[in-house]
């Protein structure tokens, strides 16, 4: 909402300057967004008069003018066709910043003649969009008069109106709050009724009281329409409105002055003598009209709108012809023009929700719609009509009928009990009861002081529903700056930390992965539906109905797609070796339990070449990172089963696996991603990844104390024995390792694979696996015979999984 200081001063007696007003507004809750001060911009410019204008010696289109200015006689080069001796115009001195050109004037020769300033057009001063010459002003203006005064320019404040305060959409409402805040005295002029001289020949019938409970109107006959006087045009232009004609301008004036929208119909264009207020109609079917066809209205903006039954329609012709959308916009068919002679003025109250919904459905807003949707003062129906009548009579003449009123406005806000002690209890402010009563009264609340008080909100404050609302009124007018700063009772930091085990694991995983060289990314929770489908998602129930972009229309079933696409973008920028991770949500369904937290990591293994030769196998490096991470999370890594060949179909079937605690409790899938999926996402492979479902990782059992069990630090040296087994190539080496480790769980502490060999000396289809078994003697040094016995157990255990000691 924009307004000017002069308009405010019609309602508020104050000496405050614009900056003070803006500050007071901000601190009273009227959030100022912009203060535009054209006076400051126009400060360097003054009135000047051309004394003589001669053809420029070196240019046909330029003139060299001698100009009488505030700085004395100046020689100025001017290219405007209308520059002539005797012309009164605006002068800009050297050094002035010309807003319309965006330049600061410097003294420089124009085709050999130095110009000591500039004569300005309206466009150059940003007073008009375009100009075809320099300003041509009244001859009686004195040279040196400030331009700001000539053009009536004045500062404009633009502020944000919160949705609870429709009354701030009128100057009177703003002034009331500012007066309460101590900025001046409220002096909104009273409205004097204008008696009608004849009964209104036009009547009103309300068929939809739930949409429009009250509708008042009157005929004014014999008006003379036309352009508004300058003061009115200037007032509207200053706040960005376009003057149309006197009748329309009056409705805009009242809308902005009192937050009281009105509508004016050209009575000559009305069909019949009754205006009907009803819901929109849908045809039941007739000749040439299919059943279900909505009626249409061509509105004043020239566009055609299909009206539905949830919208409020104003109709004439016995209710048949729509001539307006109630509270939103009038129809073109009955609009006022310069020739209009008789007008019917409407002043009604339209339901906020209906008006808001109509605006949303039709994506149609207007000053009226904006106000009715927030809630116009229902008590302003008749006074608003009287004020509009007065203004129309003043500007257009004419003769008013008596007022017709159909229906009844909604009830005024109910009184409620209020204990003034609530102010202190909720805010910590200590205010005398008298001060509380003073603030509330200034804002229009009626107070009956008893025990407790009974407070009745004014008709325009339908947002005030209870004591907390009154506390806010008192606190904001008194000033939040006076609130005390009171320490919260010290509960200390909770003795066991504030994170639950899951949150603590997220934090540990983040730091662990960053330490392992992965960069944390945060990516959208949404993806493209077809991409979601590649990762087992894409359910319609997880589709975003109104996505921000077509490729972000579905909740993600995995964090991998986003990481793959991020890695691909990095590769496109010449950085193909990404290692990324994200800890965040995935969505399996739309219920609260359908959301899981995943820890996803992705590596694009493109390590740059190194002089020392090949590096660690990237896939096993990733597996190592994953195992270390699971260990850091306290996952039961020793009991995890590694299952290969059963990953879901976005994984490389031969180069991926999952870790599980039984087939129904998969903790993580990892490995290489399927080339088909990478291709679909425009990503160059290979890419390696893992995705841990954190919720599936069992939490370590809680213990009564934090004490660790006794450490078992064997005093004897461990020894190692090497074995080589021949086993079918297709068999999982992990099974062999596990079998050997299980041969003697007391003595064998580790089994390390140090070679896998296929080729000469090993039969076709077989592989040789060389292992180092770490043996930890417990109570005494092992004898040769005992070591021999253990070796036999190892060979036997390997035999059970089909491995034969290599001869």
């Amino acid at each position: 909402m924009k307004f000017t200081l002069s308009w405010l001063k019609e309602h508020l007696e104050t000496d405050a300057e614009i900056a003070e007003v803006a500050e007071a507004m901000t601190m009273a809750g009227l959030e100022v967004e912009d203060v535009h001060d054209p006076v400051a911009a126009l400060a360097p410019f003054t009135v000047a008069r051309i004394v003589s204008a001669e053809r420029h010696p070196n240019a046909d289109r330029l003139q060299v003018c001698q100009v009488d200015t505030v700085d004395g006689l100046k020689e100025i080069v001017c290219g405007a066709p209308n520059a002539r001796a005797g012309l009164t115009t605006i002068y800009a001195p050297i050094g002035a910043w010309v807003p319309g050109l965006g330049v600061t004037l410097v003294e420089k020769p124009v085709r050999g003649v130095v110009s000591n300033g500039m004569l300005c057009s309206a466009a150059e001063l940003e007073l008009a969009g375009e100009s075809d010459g320099i300003l041509d002003l009244a001859d009686d203006l004195k040279v040196g008069t400030p331009a700001a005064g000539v053009f009536g320019a004045e500062p404009v404040i633009d502020f944000e109106v919160t949705p609870n305060r429709a009354d701030w959409l009128g100057m009177a409402g703003i002034a009331r709050d500012l007066a309460a805040a101590g900025l001046g005295r409220l002096k909104t002029p009273d409205i004097q009724p204008v008696p009608g001289t004849f009964p209104s020949p036009i009547t009103v019938r309300i068929e939809a009281p739930e949409m429009c409970p009250v509708f008042a109107g009157r005929l004014i006959r014999g008006v003379k329409n036309g352009p508004s006087p300058e003061w009115l045009q200037r007032r509207l232009t200053a706040i960005g409105l376009r003057p149309i004609n006197r009748l329309v301008d009056v409705t805009n004036l009242v809308a902005y002055d009192r937050c009281r929208p009105l509508h004016v119909y050209d009575a000559a264009k009305l069909v019949g003598s009754e205006i009907v207020v009803r819901g929109g109609q849908v045809s039941e079917g007739a000749e040439h009209i299919a059943a279900g066809t909505h009626e249409h209205l061509i509105a004043l903006d020239g566009k055609t709108y299909a009206v539905d039954p949830a919208m409020c329609v104003i109709a004439d012709a016995a209710g048949e012809r729509p001539i307006g959308l109630g509270g939103v916009m009038g129809g073109e068919s009955t609009g006022c023009a310069d020739e209009t002679v008789d007008v019917f003025v409407e002043c009604a109250w339209f339901d906020p929700l209906v008006t808001a919904q109509t605006g949303r459905t039709l994506t149609l807003t207007s000053d009226a719609q904006y106000r009715f949707a927030r809630g116009v003062d229902p008590a302003s129906v008749v006074p608003g009509l009287e004020l509009a009548t007065r203004l129309i009579l003043d500007l257009c003449g004419g003769e008013p009928s008596e007022i017709v009123v159909a229906g009844e406005g909604p009830a005024s806000p109910a009184a409620f009990a209020f204990d003034p002690a609530r102010v202190g209890a909720l805010t910590g402010l200590s205010l005398a009861d008298d001060r509380i009563a003073e603030i509330l009264s200034q804002l229009g609340f009626e107070i009956a002081r008893g025990s407790p008080w009974t407070v009745t909100p004014p008709s325009w404050r339908r947002d005030a529903e209870g004591p907390a609302d009154l506390v806010e009124e008192v606190a904001r007018i008194e000033g939040y700056g006076k609130l005390p700063s009171t320490p919260l009772p010290d509960l200390g930091a909770p003795s066991k930390g504030v994170l639950n085990p899951r949150q603590a694991r997220v934090r540990a995983a983040r730091r662990a992965l960053a330490a392992m060289g992965y960069a944390e990314a945060v990516t959208w929770s949404f993806t493209k539906q077809s991409t979601a489908a590649l990762f087992g998602g894409g359910d319609d129930r997880l589709r975003v109905e109104n996505p921000i972009a077509a490729d972000l229309d579905c909740m993600r079933p995995s964090a991998l797609a986003n990481l793959i696409q991020a890695a691909a973008r990095n590769a496109d920028r010449g950085h193909p070796d990404a290692a990324l991770f994200e800890i965040g949500p995935i969505y399996l369904d739309d219920s609260p339990t359908g959301q899981r937290t995943v820890i996803a990591g992705l590596v694009a293994p493109r390590a740059p070449r190194h002089w020392s030769g090949g590096a660690e196998d990237a896939l096993f490096a990733l597996k190592g990172d994953l195992m270390a991470l699971l260990d850091a999370l306290g996952a039961p890594t020793a009991s995890l089963q590694l299952v290969q060949g059963q990953n879901r179909d976005w994984w490389h079937p031969g180069r991926s696996a999952r870790l599980q605690l039984g087939p129904k409790n998969v903790i993580v899938e990892f490995g290489a991603l399927h080339p088909r999926v990478l291709k679909a996402l425009d990503a160059d492979g290979p890419m390696l990844a893992f995705e841990i479902v954190l919720d599936a990782v069992p939490e370590p059992r809680g213990k009564a104390t934090k004490a660790r069990g006794a450490a078992s630090l064997a005093p004897l040296m461990p020894l190692t024995r090497d074995f080589a087994f021949v086993v079918e190539d297709g068999k999982a080496t992990g099974d062999l390792v596990r079998a050997i480790a299980g041969a003697d769980k007391t003595l064998i502490t580790d089994v390390r694979v140090f070679d896998v060999y296929r080729g000469a000396g090993v039969a076709e289809g077989m592989k040789s696996v060389a292992l180092e078994v770490v043996i930890q003697p417990r109570d005494a040094t092992l004898t040769e015979a005992e070591i021999e016995a253990l070796s036999s157990k190892v060979v036997a255990a390997a035999g059970k999984v089909g491995a034969v000691l290599r001869g």
């Binding site: 919160t162 202190g424 904001r476 939040y480 504030v498 997880l542 190194h610």
Partner: protein, 358 residues
Amino acid sequence: MTDLAQLELDLINAIGGAETAAAVEELRVSALGKSGSISGLLKGMGAMSPDERRERGPVINGLRDRVQAALAARKAELEAAELDARLKAEHVDLTLPPRPRRKGSVHPTMQVMDEMIALFADMGFAVAEGPDIEDDFHNFTALNFPPKHPAREMHDTFFLTPDPGTGERKVLRTHTSPVQVRTMMTQKPPIRIIAPGRTFRKDSDATHTPMFHQVEGLVIDRGVHMGHLKWTLETFVARFFEVDDIDARFRPHHFPFTEPSAEMDIRCDRSGGELKLNQGDSWMEILGCGMVHPNVLRNCGIDPDEYQGFAFGMGVDRLAMLKYGIPDLRPMFEGDTRWLAHYGFSAFAAPNPASGLS
């Protein structure tokens, strides 16, 4: 005597001239071996008369000791030289680069989230969480947004496809306030929580992304008032920006779920692209807050005549940008490795009271 002196001289010279460990060993055998020259002299002592032995013994033993010492010294010398030579041959060019190591990082939003959690933990706030996909009740109705009210439009809500059976339309939560609702409905006061998490609004420009992060806070108890709110936020903001004191102002605002409501501004100077706190003439809004609306308390089963409290909410990404001088919001969510390396944090920069926040 001349014989012994000559022998000693010859041996010492020979030892000094030996060039290899093997030559030294050869000399040792020739002098001290089974049939060595000195061994022979030592053996000859057995046949001497006691007087002769008393006289010759020390001389021969002295000779043996000196030769032994000379042998050991030469041996050590040669070994040292050999080691020097070997080590010299083992020279490597250490100007060669090591294998590059990937440098990981923590995302600035997450770092700041951790910082906030640490600061609020210190003030006794627990951490509560809730789902991103919410129902209308938890995101709006319980928070005193009446159905169809224009206040809902302020939130540019994302909707999921309606349930074909019930017609219910889930929303992506527009704030983490639904977590406050869930907390109040399941816990008895006193309540002191923060709710960090992802939030969603249909908005995309230089300063808005369709997904962002919030931390909201909620304190419910008997007698908690706006003065407590003011202290809590002033204290938090000063600690967050790591300054002793913060020049802040509270300004009335409107939120459906709080009454009275406020926004908090901090005084700052942002000229030159750097945030200088407590300086300059401009105020920057950093968060919204207020006393929990009695309707919200009632909707969550808490008696507003007995309990009251405050709530606040702030944008984590935005505060990360302000604190760490990140100029643009959008790259936050693009996963550009260069950006992450530049604006990310070390794994070891976890906030703690001893070393600070980052």
